[in-house]
């Protein structure tokens, strides 16, 4: 029973990891928080769905191309959010950045309602949802697919950050903005890039999770709080922490839903967040004594 709950919690956990990773990248790189992350997630799912289905003039794209279109759309939204909401308000104070981000999330949500309607649509599943059995554990192929793609995205992110010139520049700016600036690394470039990479991760998470749930304009708000909880759990700003926090949150949520009651599932996530913030604010893998969120 427990093993079953852990296995099925891992799939949604890996999606939480991607969203938490987006938060951690932005916090460690730009010292900002994108409170519209959930809406980026939602918009990517809708764009991919539109690309996947037969349009008036546009032909239906294959799945991989649709994913690519959705991810690119998400990264562009991230770019716009950084340059309009975060950058101009960063000197005025956190409150303004927060307000502007929330303005953006309202904007994305209401635009989605305008374009796609408020009822939501079904995202066609690419992989079978029919579970198969290994021993006494049921495994859904779709879940394996979600985990595999998330893992691949994390590996690509790692390679990008460690092996490429741009990735190195981003890490340098994350470590010390002033010195990175002196070395000729443009803040605006690295910050914009960080937002684009982070938003594309959040967008990918949205597309991966879309077949499991209905795609609705409101789907972002619950994932947004889950992403924050996962990031806080692992240590806000820590990259490995985000991955661990997401997986752990997925498992904990599934276990509590299975053993206690599924109607209080969302409250569990909030409670985890409050407990971690109160008793271990640096998170599981955060650096103690470092800059805190």
């Amino acid at each position: 029973m427990i093993i079953q709950l852990i296995i099925s919690g891992l799939a949604i956990g890996s999606v939480y990891s991607l969203v938490a990773l987006a938060h951690s990248l932005i916090w460690s790189g730009v010292r900002a928080v994108n409170f519209a992350q959930g809406e980026v997630f939602m918009a990517a799912a809708f764009v991919a769905l539109t690309a996947l289905s037969e349009g008036d003039r546009l032909p239906a794209l294959p799945f991989w191309a649709a994913v690519l279109v959705g991810v690119i759309a998400a990264s562009l939204i991230g770019l716009v959010i950084y340059n309009i909401a975060i950058r101009p308000t960063s000197k005025k104070g956190f409150l303004y950045a927060l307000g502007a981000c929330i303005g953006f999330s309202t904007l994305l949500q209401s635009s989605a309602i305008l374009v796609w309607g408020s009822t939501g649509e079904q995202f066609p599943a690419q992989i079978s949802m029919v579970p198969f059995r290994i021993g006494s554990v049921l495994i859904v192929p779709m879940d394996l697919f979600i985990m595999g793609i998330s893992l691949a995205a994390m590996v690509i992110l790692y390679l990008f950050l460690s092996k490429t010139r741009l990735g190195t520049a981003m890490r340098a700016a994350a470590q010390n903005r002033e010195v990175a600036g002196l070395m000729g690394i443009s803040h605006r470039l690295t910050d914009s890039l960080t937002f684009m990479v982070a938003s594309s991760l959040a967008g990918l998470a949205g597309i991966l999770l879309a077949p499991k749930f209905f795609v609705t304009p409101q789907m972002g708000s619950s994932i947004s709080s889950k992403g924050f909880t996962a990031a806080v759990l692992g240590g806000f700003g820590s990259i490995p922490g985000a991955v661990l926090g997401g997986l752990l949150l997925g498992i904990l949520e599934n276990i509590s839903a299975g053993l206690i009651s599924s109607s209080y599932k969302d409250a569990i996530s909030f409670l985890i967040m409050v407990i971690i913030i109160m008793f271990k604010p640096e998170g599981l893998l955060g650096v103690k004594g470092g800059r805190k969120a």
Binding site: G99, A100, S225, A267, V274, M278, P281
Partner: protein
């Protein structure tokens, strides 16, 4: 003595001029729908003042106002419908329960340094409140909400008419505005501001951050609870989805748009955010998109808030006026 008098004059007059202008509206327009918007605006003013005390004056970002609002609304609604208590008794009890909620949030919030975690902890509180309202069906009737919340009565007069509600709400708003001005001008208010500016230096002159931060949370929770109770009795039905994250966001946007750390700013922000969506109603389905764009533009381009913008514009105007008067005098001589 005279300086003290002038200072009082300056801080007390603008909010009451603003309230006076609003109070004159029913003399000119008798539209019940306009009355409805303005009653909501009055409730928003109370909420915005609460938000401003904690966020504008004390510098603690609170995105859990919907939680306190819901606690006030449900307490008053349950007391009046289940125990058939009078509104005038239920209102202070609602405020008291909200105050307890303020302590419940304020104490853990003390552990937190910095904005992001405070945002997360307060939103979690509001989220937990909403989950409880939805799931504790035996008490709150869950998503169906509470219906038939009785109207308050003054003597034999039952407040049912929109116009009566308008005057009742704005009398309460005026009392709260007066108390809030006294509060922020008092020793307590100055301690809040000192904490906002620098916690370390406030501590070094003997201000206890723990006490004053929790006190600020309690003040804002009480005001949100009162606003919630008025809302419940005015709407007569309440359900959990009225108290979602959007309401907390609305409280934040009201003070950012109206003016952070300013009581008249709260009045402007509260009324503006009640009227603004109605004003955009002509746009039809584009209403909410235009609303969001308006909010973003206001936050990015009007950092001081609408009220201070008005004050700045008036001062500029005065400067021009006096300058032209002086040049006029010079030319005459």
């Amino acid at each position: 003595m005279k300086a003290k008098y002038q200072e009082n004059f300056v801080t007390h007059i603008p909010p009451f001029i603003l309230l006076g202008i609003i109070a004159m509206v029913p003399l000119l327009f008798r539209d019940p729908y306009l009355m409805h918007i303005l009653v909501l605006g009055g409730i928003y003013i109370i909420l915005a003042i609460g938000m401003n005390i904690i966020t504008g004056y004390c510098g603690q970002i609170n995105l859990g106002m919907a939680g306190f609002f819901a606690v006030g609304a449900y307490t008053s609604a349950l007391l009046t419908t289940r125990l058939s208590m009078s509104f005038w008794l239920a209102l202070p009890i609602a405020a008291l329960v909200a105050a307890v909620a303020g302590i419940v949030v304020g104490v853990p919030a003390l552990k937190v340094r910095g904005g992001v975690y405070l945002v997360l902890i307060t939103t979690s509180f509001a989220g937990i409140v909403q989950v409880i309202l939805n799931q504790w069906v035996s008490l709150t009737k869950g998503p169906m909400g509470i219906v038939g919340i009785p109207a308050p009565a003054i003597g034999k007069l039952v407040i049912y008419d929109r116009l009566h509600w308008f005057y009742l709400t704005y009398v309460m708003v005026a009392v709260i505005v007066f108390l809030a001005i006294r509060l922020v001008g008092s020793r307590i208010g100055r301690c809040f501001i000192a904490l906002r500016e620098s916690e370390t230096s406030a501590q070094s002159i003997g201000i206890s951050p723990a006490f004053y931060k929790v006190l600020a949370f309690v003040c804002s929770a009480v005001l949100a609870g009162i606003a919630g109770a008025i809302y419940a009795h005015y709407m007569t039905t309440i359900s959990p989805d009225a108290f979602g994250f959007n309401l907390s966001v609305l409280a934040l946007i009201m003070i950012v748009v109206g003016g952070i750390g300013s009581i008249p700013g709260s009045i402007v922000g509260g009324v503006a955010l009640a009227i603004f969506p109605e004003w955009l109603r002509a746009l039809g389905s584009y209403q909410s998109v235009a609303y969001a764009v308006g909010i973003i533009l206001a936050i990015v381009f009007l950092p001081k808030g609408l009220f201070m913008m008005g004050v700045d514009a008036a001062q500029l105007f005065k400067k021009w006026f006096t300058a032209s008067e002086e040049t006029g005098k010079k030319e005459a001589s």
